[in-house]
């Protein structure tokens, strides 16, 4: 592998990045179609759908954004809502500060495109080729956004005429996260971070309900892991 020329290695990286991104494809296309349909029903057509998929590129925020647009929300409300819905991205970025450090020209786009799903594909730090790690991560990020844009475009074009016999396909997103969780579990010895995430979130969900648990859960996880730092930190090094 080391001896093959540069020109022969890049297509391999592209292929591996594409294979890595495949699990996200079905989920993003379906969720994007759902978004496009709802946005169209709210009175905003193809251009709006594609513009939001390109510029915002955050699934749950775009769904919330439909209500903001339809209700003619104020700018301050929009800012606060976006901060609340997307605050979790702070945590994704914090945990990628080191990993994306030397990504150079690819870095701005990789940060821009760090969605839940892209994060779950890239946070294990595995790459097929350490020399092209950044190109690989860039491509996974890009493929994912292309699936998302395709979905949003299709939903907006097809509208409600889509024959939707695919009930349950939204589980592909859940399955993606469960598979990532399992793989991470199999690959690491110390399961305390994984268990902290699972149990602290479950606790917040039970206590606070499905509407308000996400940010408290992230804060609780950060607090617990900070308190465990002496214990876990030594092992990590």
């Amino acid at each position: 592998m080391e001896k093959s020329p540069e020109a022969e290695r890049k297509p391999v990286i592209v292929r591996k990045a594409f294979l890595k991104s495949l699990p996200v494809m079905a989920g993003y296309v379906v969720l994007g179609i759902g978004f496009g349909i709802l946005l169209r029903n709210a009175g905003y057509g193809v251009l709006w759908s594609v513009a939001m998929a390109v510029l915002i590129y955050a699934g749950s925020m775009q769904y919330v954004g439909i209500d903001l647009l339809a209700g003619g929300a104020g700018i301050l409300t929009t800012i606060l809502t976006t901060v609340m819905v997307n605050a979790r991205h702070l945590f994704y970025s914090i945990s990628m500060v080191d990993r994306y450090k030397n990504a150079g020209k690819y870095k701005p786009y990789m940060i821009f495109a760090l969605t839940d799903e892209t994060y779950s594909l890239l946070c294990d730090g595995e790459t097929p080729d350490s020399e092209h790690a950044d190109l690989y991560r860039f491509l996974v990020s890009l493929f994912n956004q292309l699936y998302w844009i395709t979905g949003c475009l299709l939903g907006s074009l097809l509208g409600a005429v889509l024959p939707f016999s695919s009930a349950g396909i939204e589980f592909s997103m859940t399955a993606l996260f469960i598979a990532s969780f399992t793989e991470q579990w199999l690959r690491t010895k110390d399961h305390i971070p994984a268990l902290t995430g699972l149990l602290a979130t479950l606790l917040c969900l039970v206590v606070l309900g499905p509407e308000n648990f996400l940010i408290p859960a992230m804060l609780l996880i950060t607090l617990i892991l900070t308190l465990l730092r002496g214990r876990l930190g030594r092992k990590a090094v």
Binding site: K107, I111, Y119, G168, M218, I221, T222
Partner: protein, 106 residues
């Protein structure tokens, strides 16, 4: 009307971009040891959080008591442990879930 909507889209985009870039801007020069530590331990915890997040609207107090999610979720875990192939696990789990919600627990 359309100008206001366009402004709202741009505001949503700008705030989202700011949130994603903020940690990279703050810790640009040198990563504090504490942030590096969080980078080590947060990913596994956040994946756990996302699993719960996806299942948050599952109703377990009445039929089918979350059975499709439980069965399909266990299938994903089982396939992943067995074959270590994420694509296979995700496809298998999703197909099982679709059969369960469409045919077994409609």
């Amino acid at each position: 009307m359309n100008t206001h909507a366009a402004i709202l889209v741009l505001v949503m985009a700008a705030v989202t971009i700011l949130l994603r870039f903020l940690p990279f801007l703050v810790f640009r020069k040198r990563t504090p040891a504490y942030i590096s530590y969080l980078g080590e331990v947060l990913p596994a915890a956040i994946i756990g959080l996302l699993v719960i997040y996806c299942l948050k609207d599952t109703v377990i107090t009445r039929a089918p008591f979350g059975a499709p999610e439980l069965i399909a979720g266990l299938a994903v875990v089982g396939l992943q442990v067995w074959k270590r192939n994420s694509l296979l696990s995700i496809l298998g789990g999703t197909v099982i879930y679709m059969v369960l919600v469409q045919a077994v627990f409609p």
